[in-house]
């Protein structure tokens, strides 16, 4: 191919990439722009630039009158507790399965992985049944425990793959010194597993932050609702207060995007390892 042809291809590639970048970003820019517009402005001012670019009134209203301070706090709490639970439970299990002699460990592991292969789209219905049987409907714990449980298979898979790669010699010295298996787990393998744990933290924080379905079936009390459900406050049957809705979605989305950009390497590693689970 000639030099001109090469340059033409490069130009076409750049154009394609730029076009999709604009498509990817535009809805979010439009969301931000709407969130800064006045109530009577959103249907008349169709430019990206709000009349008053520093009009944070919608944010204040969503945060206070819309109750978003509460929903945000709920979601932060749910994310923190669920992710801590997942990390503790899945590192223990993966360590046991990967590094210790254990009765029936192959069956246990395969049994957990099997649920990854069998998709159950209506799972939220049966989880609701079980949770309400246990008397935990409309409670925080009844929302968080199923989320920990659903997160376990992928997390254990990621951690077990990580532990399997480590050489046996790592524990040998400690075993000769007479260290108990729990001490080896806690002070030796957990610190080594930090990259895999980071992946699990990212993966699960995102999925708890974005969770909606389970909250929809479990919560009828607004004071327990996570942010995704809180959005429905601004959506009426006939009219939707888009300026407040877009301010609220901006509040939820911006921290996620900032963390994502700051930690994109771990993010993408986490997503790809979470998807390649078979």
């Amino acid at each position: 191919m000639g030099k001109a042809g090469e340059r033409l291809t490069k130009g076409a590639i750049h154009l394609l990439l730029l076009a999709w970048a604009v498509v990817s970003i535009f809805p979010l820019v439009w969301m931000l722009s709407t969130s800064l517009k006045e109530k009577n402005e959103i249907y008349t001012n169709k430019s990206l630039i709000p009349r008053n670019a520093l009009n944070f009134g919608n944010y204040v209203e969503a945060w206070t009158a819309g109750g978003f301070s509460r929903y945000t706090w709920n979601s932060v709490l749910y994310s923190a507790v669920v992710v801590t639970g997942v990390v503790l439970v899945s590192t223990l299990a993966a360590y046991g399965i990967s590094r210790l002699d254990m009765a029936g460990k192959k069956a246990i592991y395969l049994g957990m992985m099997a649920t990854l292969m069998i998709p159950i789209p209506g799972a939220f219905i049966s989880i609701y049944i079980v949770v309400s049987h246990l008397g935990l409907a409309n409670t925080r714990i009844g929302y968080m425990l199923p989320m920990v449980a659903t997160a376990l298979p992928v997390s254990i898979f990621i951690l077990k793959s990580f532990f399997d790669e480590l050489s046996r010699e790592i524990e040998e010295a400690a075993i000769i010194d007479g260290a108990a298996s729990f001490r080896i787990y806690w002070s030796l393998l957990l610190p080594i597993a930090r990259p895999a744990i980071a992946t699990i933290v990212i993966l699960n924080t995102l999925s708890v932050w974005n969770e909606f379905m389970l909250a929809l079936v479990l919560f009828s009390e607004t004071k327990l609702m996570p942010i995704q459900m809180g959005l429905s406050v601004f959506v009426g049957q006939y009219t939707t207060q888009y300026e407040l809705l877009m301010a609220a979605t901006s509040l939820m989305v911006l921290p996620v995007i900032l963390v994502y950009i700051a930690m994109q390497k771990q993010f993408i590693a986490g997503i790809t390892s979470g998807a390649i689970k078979g």
Binding site: M1, T34, I129, I257, F267
Partner: protein, 305 residues
């Protein structure tokens, strides 16, 4: 056997008994995982199967077994099959358009273009958003007085303005477009990982043998991507058929049932109609369908190899 080891035999035996004990003691490490998994993942599946044979309504703890009645009405329910068909439309459109765009973008980013790191980061922003947020943002874009219609008017296509998600002829495709907008990044990142996994030496060797661009694509890139392609397709089909949040936020299945999807029907059957029996039967029917689909897809890709 070495005679010297004989005196040691009892000790060895005691030691092996201790080891056998360990084997069971070590189960404590998986106990928390097993307990949670059993109660909140396995038991619900058992419950769904059980409920699918009953007339349970979710409120009254007493219910009756009704045999296969729920399955019989599920299989003949035309609204249900419309919902499955809508999911099928989403899946088909995503397989064709979403994954083609994703593949094209991944090849482009992999071509060592300036700024490809930035593109990679930007393309993955939509997938990290929640379906609910994406649904509301696009609902606003599609609003009769929203930006899409204003844009059409602005470029002189005012005749094409439309109630995009409010009218039966466009609602399904409008929802599909927004869900594909979100999904491109996911397929893209997996394709890109697949492309980056191909050793550079293979291309160099092919170049030495005088292979041109097309030949390299045909004999190196395409075969190497086959397993990634299968995985992306399975994830795309499962994702499209299982869509819930976006439809919930944008249309609630309407207008009429034009954008109804299986998960929404399963939800409504339980929580609007209080028919947990039917809802469970739909879940099982749908779960079996999805499972068979992924098996077929896996089988097809094996045969090609």
């Amino acid at each position: 056997m070495n005679p010297i080891s004989l005196p040691n035999a009892p000790i060895v035996k005691r030691k092996s008994r201790k080891l056998a004990c360990r084997r069971y003691f070590n189960l404590l490490y998986v106990l928390p995982a097993l307990a949670l998994f059993g109660v909140f993942s396995l038991f619900p599946i058992v419950k769904t199967v059980q409920y699918s044979f009953t007339d349970a309504n979710g409120i009254n703890p007493n219910f009756h077994y009704v045999g296969l009645a729920n399955y019989r009405s599920a299989l003949t329910d035309s609204q249900w099959w419309q919902a499955v068909g809508n999911g099928g439309v989403f899946a088909l459109l995503s397989l064709i358009f979403m994954n083609s765009i994703a593949l094209l973008l991944s090849v482009a980013v992999n071509a060592n273009i300036r700024g490809n790191q930035i593109y990679r980061v930007v393309f993955y922003i939509p997938p990290i958003l929640s379906g609910i947020v994406v649904g509301y943002v696009w609902k606003w874009i599609y609003d009769p007085k929203g930006i899409l219609n204003s844009f059409l008017q602005g470029i002189g296509l005012g005749g094409y303005t439309h109630a995009w998600i409010g009218s039966t002829d466009t609602a399904l495709y409008a929802v599909a477009v927004s869900s594909m907008w979100q999904g491109v990044g996911g397929s893209f990142i997996l394709f890109l990982a697949g492309l980056q996994g191909i050793p550079k030496e293979w291309y160099e060797a092919a170049e030495i043998d005088g292979a041109n661009r097309l030949q390299k694509l045909r004999y190196i890139t395409v075969p190497s991507l086959r397993s990634v392609y299968t995985m992306v397709n399975i994830l795309t089909i499962l994702g499209a058929l299982g869509i819930f949040n976006q439809v919930y936020a944008m249309t609630m299945g309407g207008p009429g049932y034009t954008t109804e999807v299986p998960a929404l029907r399963i939800y409504r059957e339980a929580f609007t109609n209080s028919d947990f029996g039917m809802s469970s039967a739909f879940s099982i029917v749908f779960g079996v369908m999805l499972f068979i689909l992924s098996l077929i897809q896996l089988k097809l890709s094996r045969n090609k190899e």
